[in-house]
Structure formats: C-alpha cells, structure tokens
Symmetry: C2
Subunit: 228 residues, 2 copies
C-alpha cells in the first residue's frame, strides 16, 4: 500500500512520517514551498528526514500563489510574526488563508496519479492556534470532497494520526518510534538557530518540557514555557 | 459586493463572467496557468475579457505542480489529446486529477484575503465529459469545506451558474448578455487557429450549431457535429 506523507520538516510532520513508516506503507513525500520565511531550512529538514526513512519518491512543489495572495506573516515581510502568548482565541498572524486545502488538493492530485490511497498530514487540533483548517471536521469534510471529486475507481483518504494528541504526547510518540527530532525544524522566524520565542518554537519547547525530554535542536534562547 | 470569477478564457468562463457582471458584483478575475498546451492563447483571452468588463483586480497564478504531477494530455506532451467522440462514459485523457479542487482552494485563499464572498466558476455538469470534479455534489461538498475551513467571520460561497445548462443554452445565455465570444478560446490543441476536432472544439461547435449561431472565432476545419 502506497501513502503520501505531507512533510514540511516540522516535528508534527516528522512524527506523522514515523507513524506511517511504522504502519508499513510505501511512502512518497510531498513538500510544499509557499514562500515562508524559513523555507530553505525546512527543505533541508525534509531532505534529511526522507534520507532517514529511505523515501525515494519525493516531490517538492512551489506554491508561489500563496505568497502572492499574502495576508500572512509567514509569507508577507510587512506583517510581524506573533510572539508566543498561548491565547488561542484569536487567529494568529501566521495564518495563511485556507492553506491546508491548497496543500491537500495538490496531494490528492499526486495521489490519484501515482495510485496512493492514503495521505498522511500532521494536523493537530488542540494545539493549532485556532487555524480553522486544522480541525477534525475540516478533514472529514475534505474526505467527502475527495470521494466525490476523484475517479470512481480510486479510493483516497486523508489520515490525521496526531489530530487529537497534545503536543507533548506527540513528542513521546516520536521518541517511542525513534523519530529523528534533530532533523526537524519548527521555528517560523530564523533558519540557522531556532529563535525560541515565536509561537511555533514556544509550543515545541513547552511540549518537550512537559514530556520531560530535552529538544535536541539548538535555540538562541530557551525560555521555560511550563507556566503558560 | 465583491466576487471572484475564475476566468480561463473559454466560453463557459466568459459567460459566467457575463452573468456575474450583470448581477452587479465588483469583479476580481483569477486565471490559472497549469501548464496546459494552449496557455498563451488562454492568457490573451483572459486579458481581453478583463478589458471588456473593466476588471482591474486580476491575478494570474502558476500551478506548475499540476504539470509536474502530470498524468493528463493537457499537460503531458506524451499523452495524445483525445479527439471528439461524445462518448462520456470514459474519463477523457484531458482530465487533470482533482484540478478544480486545486483551483478553488487558491480562489478561496484569495477571496478570504481580499474579502470577496462569492466565487463564480463556469463548471457544466452535463457537458463535462465525466470529470468527477465538475458535478453539482462536488461543489456542495466543497462549500462545506469552505464553511468549516475559513475564519468564522467570513462567508465565502462558490456559485456555478452554468452547472445545469446544456452547452447550447450557454451560447444563448451569452448572446443575450452580449458576451464577447470573439475573445474566448476553447481549443485544447492549437493556439492560433482552433483545430475544430479536439473534444473541446467539438463541444463548442456543436453548441453554436444547436443554438443556430455562427461561432465568431476561426477554425482550421469546421465539421458539423449536429449528428453526434
């Protein structure tokens, strides 16, 4: 059975890859460049993780349109990156409108072409900072669209193995599966040494702290987020 | 009220634009280049139609990934373009897997960013050659995904005004609205003089014949398709 894994290079997509690999799927890895600030560093992580899992079928595609459309701090240099506040009532400035639908649509096109019937994505509902397209209902609805919008003889389904996990459970799951966290990259801001203070670094550091494990990547500052 | 219209430059998207224009929307036009053979010609049609309707907000985006993913005669030079046979039980070789979901996802990202709340697309169910992502249920399902996957304060909906029309009704509707058919382009094969024999030319020629109107664009050959 062939499966596509969406592999940004962050810790969630790394652990998702580890899960799919351990389920015995023949993996194909899809990496999307949508003009994010840290793209080069993410691509390096993508390649290292593919090497680790012997994934030969790789596809890197450019989603320049998402940076042209803009409206997000991940792609628009004029909008500052939100620093961590763990207040998930507002949608943070790193939100790219409907990003996951764009990514999943490309993944489904590729899946139909290479005859893969699972698509793994490391979406996490609880820790998704309120992104509307990270919720369980979004993936259920998208699976309906896939069923209706692909050839009758195909059977393609999105899997979100992390969707109900807490971030620290993801760390523990990854450690259990011996996922190479040292290859992953989460920082939204820097691309050599992780900043330690953007939303994404903060969530990651807190997760490792809660799991009682030291994150193997380097940080510029490594604040404690246990009290947040 | 602002609306996005998906404008490939073909007759269906032209008539859809005419309908949206006549409903009084402030239009923004989105053109996708997904590596199709006749891209340059389509882009010229897009620009001429935008000029005709005074559409100033235009976005042309490249979907190179769809040609990289391939698997379709529209994007892959090694797969021949199917000539017309009007046998819609098989999905023709011009099918790009899940193409419309890719296009709609980009349109929704743009709509959320520019605060448009309608997206017009010229999909036609009956005459869609069996493309699974041209059917009414596909758009209903996609509207669900939009509702769930965008910010709560947004309200974006896809409109498919042609979905239940026959091709000849679309010609008549376009004539009623004085749509400039001379600017549109449908041929999948050529980019100067339409071939007259590919699936898309054949469907267009037959529609004009059935409507009793002469198609104003030039054809290399202009067979009668009334008996098909």
């Amino acid at each position: 059975m062939r499966a596509i894994v969406l592999l940004s290079g962050g810790m969630d997509s790394l652990v998702t890859t580890a899960i799919a690999y351990n389920l015995g799927y023949e993996l194909a890895a899809l990496h999307i460049n949508y003009g994010q600030r840290t793209e080069k560093r993410e691509l390096k992580s993508f390649q290292n993780i593919c090497r680790h899992y012997n994934i030969e079928r790789k596809l890197e595609i450019g989603f320049e349109h998402l940076s042209i459309i803009g409206g997000s701090s991940l792609t628009d240099e004029e909008i500052p990156v939100t620093t961590a506040k763990f207040d998930f009532t507002d949608i943070p400035t790193s939100y790219v409108a409907f990003r996951n639908a764009n990514i999943l649509s490309a993944a489904v096109s590729w899946a139909e072409t290479i005859r893969a019937n699972k698509i793994f994505i490391g979406a996490v509902e609880e820790d998704s900072s309120g992104y509307p397209d990270c919720r369980k209902e979004f993936y259920s609805a998208f699976n309906e669209v896939i069923k209706i919008g692909t050839k009758p003889e195909t059977s393609i389904e999105i899997h979100t193995p992390l969707i109900s996990m807490q971030k620290c459970e993801i760390v523990i799951k990854g450690m259990d599966l011996e996922a190479p966290f040292e290859h992953s990259w989460s920082c939204y801001k820097n691309d050599e040494v992780a900043c330690g203070i953007c939303d994404s670094c903060a969530r990651r550091l807190r997760a490792f702290e809660q799991a009682g494990i030291r994150d193997p990547i380097k940080y510029k500052v490594r604040p404690s987020y246990l009290n947040f």
